[in-house]
C-alpha cells in the first residue's frame, strides 16, 4: 500500500489528510484525516503526532506535502532575525518612507507601520543603473567591508540587498551577494532580484527585507521537518505548499521562503482547480468558510489568478507591508462560523470581524461564550442540527443560544428568531460582497461560474449566496471540511516568473517580446533541471501585463506561445481591447504597452486519481429525520435530513433538505435540488 499525505499546520490544529493508493491502479482507495494540536516552537512534533495517530507507515509514504504558517507567523509576531539592508547610495530610507499613504485619512494622529529594519542597519553602497538596466556608475565593492563589520558587531544574522533597477539587470546585486558570501559565508542573504523581477523599489526592498528576516527561521523549520520525517523512515518526496497555488521542493523554498507566506489559503483554491479539471468545470469561484474568515478566489477557464500585489497587516486604518511575491488572488473577509454578531452605539447590527475562536467559541459550545455567532444563528434556524453539532461531539446548548439572540435583538425590537435571521443575512451580505469583488467587480458574470464551497461553513452558506448572485450551480466536494489540505495532493510543482520590462505593443517589438518569454522559459527549465526534472515534465502558462500608454494599472492577458509573429501582435491588441472593455465598458484608440511578462512554469509529478464511490440512487437509507428548518425569505419548511456518508453516486435530492456530514452541513433551499456525482461530490442546481 502506498500513501500520499498532506499536512497543514494551523494556529490551533495541525491537520493531516492522506490517501491510500491502490497498488495496481494507483487510484485513491480511501481518503482519511487526522488532527493534533499544533506544537510551537517544535512544529514537527505536531505533524509527527498526526502521522503516528493515523498509524501511517513512513516507509510506505511516497509523497508528503506541507503547508505551513511558519513564515506569516514569524512576520506577524516579529520573531525573525536581526536583519541588515544594503541599498543604492541615496536610498536607504526607502524602507521607512514607504509610499507615504495614510489610509485612515480623516485621522490626524495616524501611525505609520514601523519598518522591519531600523535606520542604523540600513546601509548604502555606491552604484547606479538606469531604468534600462545600463550601468551609470560601477559597483564600489570596497565600501562593503566596513558595512559587514558593523553588521557583525550589531549581531546581524541576515542581510537583504536591494539595488535600484535590479529587476532590469541583476548583475550588481549578484556581484554584491557573491562578495558578501565570500567575506561572510555564514550570513543569510537575500537579493531583491531573487524574490522579484518587478519594479517599485519600496515593494521589492521590503519583500527582500522580510524574506531575509524569516529566512534562517524557515530554513531551520524545514530542516527539522525533513530530519524528523527521515529519522522515522520517510524516503519519499517532500514538497512545500507555496502561496502561488503550487507546491515546490524544499530546497527552492528554503532559498526564498517568503514565497510560502500565504501557503494555507492557496491550497484550497488549488484543490478547487484540480476538482474542476476532474469534473470538466473551467469557471469556478472557490469559496472557503472557516472559523474566523471567509475566502474566495476566481478561477477563469481553469486558470488560478495570481497577483504579486500582496500585503500583510493592511487594514482600512493601516497601510501595511507589501510583499511582491506571487500569491493566489484571494479576497478574505472577517466572517466565519465563529464571527460574533453585535450592535453598535446606533443600533446597527454587524457580524464580525471579531471571532469567538475555539475558546469560548459559539454560545452553543456552552464554554462561556455569551455573544451569538454565525454558527449559533444557523442553529437557531435549525439549519445545523443541535443534536448532531460538530459531528455529534457536543450537545448544543440551545437555551443559552436563544437567550443570546433575545439579548441581541431586544434593543432593535427584533425577536430572537428574527435576530438570528438578521445575523445570517448580514453575514451572507458580507460574504456576497467578497464574492462580488472577485467576480462582478472584475467584469466577470457570476452566471458563468460554479461555486465550489468548502471549509467547515462553506456548504452552509453557499446555496443562499449562489441564489443571491445568480450563480447557477454549487459544488460541495467530498471531504469538504478538509478540502484545502487535499488540494496539495492533487497538484503539480509551480514556479512563477514575473519580469518588468516595459515596451510598446508594436509589431516592431514582436521579436523582443518572444525573446523575453523564451529567456524566462529557459530560466525555468534550467531551475527545474537542477532538481532532476526533464524538459518533458515542464509545461507553461504565459501572460502579458498590458495597459494603455500612460496608465498605471495593467491587465493580465494570456498568450499561447513564446513564438510571436507580427500577426500575433494584432491578436494581442484585440485580446487586450476585449479584456479591457469587458471590465471597464469602453476602449481607447491609444497605444498599448507591455509592462510585465509573467510565466507560470509547472513540473508534472505523478498524481493520484480519485476513485469513484458506489452507485446507489435510493436515498431512503440516507434519511436521518425530518425537521422544520427556517429558510428565511423562503419561509419555514419541513426539510428532509440526509446523512452524506450514506448517499451513493447518482442520488437525487429535492429541497427543502439538509445534508449532514462530520464537520460540515449543506443547506438545500425549497426550490433547489442536488445530485451526487460518481466521486461523491454534491452538485446543487440553484
Amino acid at each position: 500500500m502506498k500513501i500520499r499525505a498532506a499536512s497543514d499546520v494551523g494556529g490551533t490544529f495541525t491537520d493531516l489528510v492522506y490517501c491510500e493508493l491502490n497498488d495496481q491502479t494507483g487510484a485513491i482507495e480511501s481518503i482519511q484525516t487526522e488532527k493534533a494540536h499544533t506544537t510551537p516552537p517544535d512544529f514537527e512534533k505536531g505533524v509527527l503526532s498526526t502521522l503516528k495517530k493515523a498509524d501511517i507507515s513512513f516507509a510506505e509514504m511516497i509523497f508528503f506535502a506541507h503547508g505551513s504558517t511558519v513564515v506569516i507567523n514569524a512576520l506577524t509576531e516579529r520573531k525573525g532575525v536581526k536583519t541588515g539592508l544594503i541599498m543604492t547610495r541615496g536610498f536607504r530610507d526607502i524602507l521607512e518612507i514607504a509610499r507615504g499613504n495614510r489610509p485612515d485619512f480623516f485621522n490626524l494622529r495616524y501611525e505609520k507601520p514601523e519598518a522591519f529594519i531600523p535606520r542604523y542597519l540600513r546601509r548604502e553602497i555606491t552604484e547606479r543603473l538606469d531604468y534600462k538596466g545600463q550601468v551609470i556608475e560601477n559597483l564600489t565593492l570596497k565600501e562593503l567591508s566596513p558595512i559587514l563589520e558593523d553588521f557583525k558587531k550589531e549581531g546581524v544574522e541576515a542581510i537583504a540587498v536591494c539595488l535600484l533597477h535590479s529587476y532590469a539587470n541583476p548583475d550588481h546585486e549578484q556581484e554584491l551577494v557573491g562578495k558578501i558570501k565570500s567575506l561572510w559565508p555564514d550570513v543569510a542573504i537575500v537579493a531583491s532580484h531573487q524574490v522579484s523581477r518587478e519594479w517599485r523599489e519600496y515593494e521589492r526592498s521590503n519583500t527582500a527585507a522580510l524574506c531575509a528576516y524569516v529566512q534562517p527561521i524557515a530554513e531551520k523549520y524545514l530542516s527539522n521537518m525533513e530530519d524528523a520525517l527521515h529519522n522515522n523512515g520517510f524516503d519519499g518526496s517532500f514538497y512545500v505548499m507555496r502561496s502561488n497555488g503550487g507546491i515546490d521542493t524544499v530546497k527552492s523554498v528554503k532559498e526564498i521562503p517568503i514565497t510560502v507566506v500565504e501557503s494555507g489559503p492557496a491550497s484550497g483554491v488549488l484543490g478547487a482547480e484540480a476538482l474542476g479539471k476532474l469534473l470538466g468545470i473551467e469557471n469556478i469561484i472557490a469559496f472557503d468558510i472557516g472559523g474566523t474568515t471567509a475566502k474566495c478566489s476566481l478561477i477563469d477557464q481553469g486558470r488560478v489568478s495570481v497577483t504579486s500585489q500582496y500585503m500583510i497587516e493592511k487594514t482600512p486604518l493601516s497601510s501595511g507591508y507589501p510583499i511582491m511575491t506571487p500569491v493566489v488572488d484571494i479576497v478574505e473577509i472577517g466572517n466565519g462560523g465563529g464571527s460574533v454578531a453585535w450592535l453598535d452605539d446606533h443600533g446597527k447590527m454587524h457580524v464580525g470581524p471579531q471571532s469567538a475562536g475555539a475558546l469560548p467559541g459559539p454560545v452553543a459550545y456552552g464554554k462561556g461564550g455569551i455573544e451569538p455567532t454565525t454558527t449559533d444563528a444557523n442553529l437557531m434556524l435549525n439549519r445545523i442540527n443541535p443534536n448532531y453539532f460538530i459531528g455529534g461531539e457536543i450537545q448544543a446548548d440551545m437555551e443559552k443560544v436563544r437567550s443570546a439572540f433575545e439579548k441581541l435583538g431586544d434593543p432593535v425590537n427584533l425577536g430572537p428568531q428574527e435576530a438570528a435571521r438578521g445575523v445570517i443575512r448580514i453575514a451572507n451580505h458580507n460574504m456576497a460582497n467578497a464574492l462580488k469583488l472577485v467576480s462582478i467587480n472584475r467584469g466577470y458574470d457570476p452566471r458563468d461560474f460554479t461555486l465550489v464551497a468548502f471549509g467547515g461553513g462553506g456548504a452552509m452558506h453557499a446555496t443562499a449566496l449562489a441564489k443571491d448572485l445568480n450563480i447557477p450551480k454549487v459544488v460541495v466536494p467530498a471531504h469538504s471540511a478538509v478540502f484545502s489540505a487535499l488540494g496539495m495532493l492533487l497538484s503539480d510543482l509551480r514556479r512563477d516568473y514575473i519580469r518588468t520590462s516595459p515596451m510598446p505593443l508594436d509589431i516592431l517589438q514582436a521579436a523582443a517580446i518572444g525573446k523575453t518569454i523564451s529567456e524566462m522559459e529557459d530560466e525555468a527549465l534550467a531551475s527545474f533541471a537542477e532538481e532532476g526534472f526533464s524538459n518533458d515534465d515542464i509545461y507553461f502558462e504565459r501572460f502579458l501585463d498590458m495597459r494603455y500608454e500612460g496608465q498605471e494599472h495593467s491587465m493580465r492577458v494570456p498568450i499561447a506561445s513564446s513564438k510571436i509573429a507580427e500577426k500575433n501582435v494584432d491578436l494581442l491588441h484585440r485580446d487586450f481591447g476585449n479584456a479591457y472593455e469587458r471590465e471597464y465598458t469602453y476602449r481607447l484608440d491609444s497605444d498599448v504597452e507591455i509592462v510585465s511578462f509573467h510565466l507560470a512554469a509547472y513540473a508534472q509529478i505523478e498524481k493520484p486519481e480519485l476513485s469513484p464511490i458506489a452507485e446507489d440512487k435510493d436515498v431512503a437509507n440516507a434519511i436521518k429525520e425530518k425537521r422544520d428548518v427556517d429558510f428565511d425569505e423562503s419561509g419555514v419548511a419541513e426539510a428532509v435530513i440526509y446523512d452524506r456518508d450514506k448517499l451513493g453516486a447518482g442520488a437525487e435530492i429535492q429541497g427543502p433538505a439538509v445534508i449532514e456530514e462530520s464537520g460540515s452541513t449543506t443547506v438545500i433551499f425549497p426550490d433547489q435540488s442536488a445530485t451526487v456525482d460518481r466521486f461523491g461530490n454534491l452538485h446543487i442546481a440553484i
Binding site: D93, E96, I97, L108, R109, H346, H553
Partner: protein, 561 residues
C-alpha cells in the same frame, strides 16, 4: 417625494435590510473609486489619488463617498446643486445624461483642473440618486503648463472653463465638447482618457445601484439613504458633545507678510469657524472658493468626531463657516484659484493650530503643512514625447502627547495618496532621481520629536525643461506644542550644472537644462514638550539612527553620547 415622507417608520423598515442597503452604498462608491483608479491615464489620479467619487440622494445631499483624499469628500454635493440650479425645466435632465463643471466660483469645484462629472440615476422615471466624480486633470490649457501657477491674474489664464454643461446626452457623448477639451489641453490623450475613466467609474456605480434598487425597491432604498444621512448626523452630534466647549483662535503670518486668522467656537450643537476679517482676495492664484473653505473646516471637524466612521452629508451638519465675500477664503469670479490647495492648507493648519492645545488626544503638533505641489515638464529624452508631471511631496508630521511624529507622510489633506516609485518615475518621466531620503535638518526637537521631511533630488536629463511650484511654510517651520521646538521649512534648491545654487519657495515655468538638479526639501514636523524631558534612551537611539548629530543632541538635550 417630500422630506417629511421619509421620516423614520421603524415598524415598516426592517433594520437588517436597511443596514444591508447602507453597507451596499459604501461598496458602490468603493467600486466607483477602484474603477477610476484602474482606468485613469495620469499618475496624479492613480497614484496621488487626486480624485473623489460620491453618491448623493435625489436632492444632491452626500450619501456615500469613496475618496483617496479627505479634501474631496465634501466637494461633490455642491456640484450637483449647481446642475439643479441651471437645468430646471422638466425634461432638462434625462437618464444617461452626464454633466461637467470645473468653475470653482460656481460650486463643487476647487480649481479648473478639478473637473467634476455628474450623472443622475433614474428609477421608474424618477431621479433616485446622483453619482459624481471629481479628478485632477493634468492640463486644461491656459497660460501655464499644467494650468497652475501662483502668478495667474485671473481664471481666464488658468485654462478651459466648463460652465456646468451636458457632455453626454442620454448616453450619446457630445463629441464637439470632447474635442474642445482635448484641443485645449497640452496632453490631449491623457485628458480624453481621464474623461472616460470618470465615465466608467460612474457607470460601474450605476449598475450596482440599479441592481440594489431592483432588489429592495426604490422606496426602501430612498428610506435607507435618508436614514444613513440621519445616522451620520446623529453620530457627529454625539461626538461633538464630547469636545470641550469654548472659543479658540489662531493667527499665522504668510510668506507675503499678510496675516490670516481663524476663530473656532464649539458649542453643544455647532462647530463654527469664523473667518471674517481675513485678507481680501489677491491678484494671484492663492485664493479659495467658499466650497473649498467649507471642506477645510469639515476635515478638522471630522478628525475630532470619530474619524474612522463613514462620512456623509449628516457628518458635517454641525459645521458652520462664516466668511467675507471677496476674501481669500471666499474669492469671487473671475479670481484665479489655481493654487487654492495651499490657501486651503493654510486654513486647515490654522484651525488645527487653534484647537490642538486643547484636543491633544486628536491632534498632533503642526505638520509640514504644504501640499508641495511640484510641476515639472519637458521632452522625455528617450521617447521625445512632451511630458509633464504633477507631484505633491511627502513631509514630516508633528509629535503628539505620547509619541514622536511620523516620518515622510502625505499631508492631512491627502490620504491614500501614494508617491511615485523612483524606478517608475525614471522610466515614465525621463528624469534621474539622485536621492530620496529623510531630511536630517535640525528642527522639531522635544520630549517627542517631529517626524522627518524628505530630500528628493531630480536630475534633469534633457534641455528645455521647466518647473513650477509654490510651497508654503517656507519661512517659518511647523508649530510645536507644550514647549517643543518648531520644525524646519519647505523649499527647493536648484543646483545648476555649473554648480551655482538658488533657493525657491515659489516659481513659475523656471527653465531647466540638462544636468541641472532640483533638490526638493520638505519640513520636519513640530515637536511636543520640552527637549529636556526626552528620555535618554530615545536620544541615544536618535543619534545611533542618525536622526540627530551627537553635537546637536548635546546642545538641545544636554546628552553625552
Amino acid at each position: 417625494m417630500a422630506k417629511e415622507d421619509l421620516a423614520p417608520k421603524v415598524a415598516e423598515h426592517d433594520p437588517i435590510t436597511i443596514e444591508i442597503i447602507q453597507s451596499s452604498l459604501r461598496s458602490i462608491t468603493d467600486e466607483m473609486f477602484a474603477t477610476m483608479r484602474k482606468t485613469a491615464m495620469s499618475s496624479v489620479i492613480y497614484e496621488v489619488l487626486d480624485f473623489g467619487v460620491a453618491m448623493m440622494d435625489a436632492d444632491g445631499e452626500l450619501a456615500s463617498s469613496g475618496s483617496g483624499i479627505p479634501s474631496f469628500v465634501g466637494m461633490l454635493a455642491p456640484g450637483i446643486k449647481s446642475v439643479r440650479r441651471k437645468f430646471t425645466k422638466p425634461d432638462d435632465i434625462k437618464p444617461g445624461d452626464v454633466f461637467a463643471t470645473n468653475i470653482p466660483h460656481h460650486g463643487g469645484v476647487s480649481h479648473l483642473n478639478d473637473v467634476v462629472l455628474m450623472q443622475p440615476v433614474f428609477f421608474n422615471g424618477q431621479i433616485i440618486s446622483w453619482l459624481a466624480n471629481k479628478a485632477h486633470w493634468v492640463d486644461v490649457g491656459g497660460t501655464f503648463p499644467g494650468s497652475i501657477s501662483v502668478d495667474a491674474l485671473d481664471i481666464y489664464q488658468e485654462g478651459l472653463q466648463l460652465p456646468c454643461i451636458k457632455v453626454i446626452d442620454q448616453g450619446k457623448e457630445n463629441q464637439a465638447v470632447i474635442d474642445i477639451m482635448a484641443g485645449n489641453s497640452r496632453v490631449p490623450d491623457i485628458t480624453v482618457g481621464d474623461f472616460w475613466a470618470g465615465i466608467a467609474s460612474m457607470r460601474s456605480g450605476e449598475k450596482r445601484l440599479q441592481a440594489l434598487i431592483e432588489k429592495y425597491g426604490d422606496e426602501t432604498v430612498r428610506y435607507a439613504i435618508a436614514d444613513y444621512i440621519a445616522l451620520g448626523e446623529a453620530m457627529a452630534r454625539t461626538e461633538l458633545k464630547k469636545l470641550p466647549m469654548g472659543v479658540y483662535s489662531a493667527t499665522e503670518k504668510l510668506e507675503d507678510g499678510r496675516v490670516v486668522k481663524a476663530v473656532v467656537t464649539i458649542t453643544t450643537d455647532a462647530f463654527t469657524v469664523d473667518l471674517r476679517g481675513n485678507p481680501k482676495q489677491g491678484k494671484n492664484a492663492l485664493n479659495s472658493s467658499l466650497d473649498a473653505t467649507i471642506v477645510d473646516a469639515q476635515m478638522v471637524f471630522k478628525a475630532l468626531t470619530d474619524p474612522q466612521s463613514f462620512a456623509n452629508a449628516g457628518s458635517f451638519r454641525p459645521v458652520e463657516v462664516l466668511t467675507d465675500e471677496g476674501s481669500i477664503f471666499n474669492a469671487q469670479y473671475p479670481t484665479a484659484m489655481g493654487v487654492y490647495y495651499e490657501t486651503g492648507m493654510i486654513l486647515f493648519d490654522l484651525i488645527w493650530k487653534a484647537l490642538a492645545p486643547f484636543m491633544e488626544q486628536h491632534l498632533t503638533a503642526g505638520h509640514y503643512g504644504s501640499i508641495c505641489g511640484t510641476f515639472l515638464g519637458g521632452k522625455h529624452p528617450d521617447t521625445g514625447k512632451e511630458h509633464s508631471i504633477v507631484e505633491p511631496q511627502l513631509g514630516g508630521w508633528g509629535a503628539s502627547l505620547d509619541r514622536d511624529g511620523v516620518n515622510a507622510l502625505y499631508t492631512g489633506q491627502h490620504g491614500e495618496t501614494f508617491n511615485v516609485p523612483v524606478e517608475v518615475a525614471e522610466q515614465r518621466n525621463g528624469l534621474m532621481i539622485d536621492r530620496l531620503c529623510l531630511n536630517d535638518a535640525p528642527g522639531g526637537e522635544g520630549q517627542y520629536i517631529g517626524g522627518k521631511g524628505i530630500n528628493l533630488d531630480y536630475r534633469i536629463l534633457g534641455d528645455d525643461w521647466w518647473i513650477s511650484m509654490t510651497y508654503v511654510r517656507s519661512e517659518s517651520g511647523p508649530w510645536a506644542l507644550e514647549g517643543g521646538r518648531p520644525g524646519s521649512t519647505n523649499y527647493i534648491n536648484v543646483v545648476r550644472k555649473d554648480g551655482s545654487e538658488k533657493r525657491y519657495s515659489s516659481c513659475t515655468a523656471l527653465p531647466l537644462e540638462k544636468g541641472d538638479v532640483v533638490q526638493v526639501v520638505t519640513a520636519n514636523g513640530g515637536g511636543y514638550g520640552p527637549p529636556q524631558k526626552r528620555a535618554k534612551d530615545s536620544v541615544f537611539s536618535d543619534i545611533k539612527n542618525g536622526y540627530i548629530t551627537a553635537e546637536r543632541a548635546r546642545y538641545i538635550y544636554g546628552t553625552e553620547a
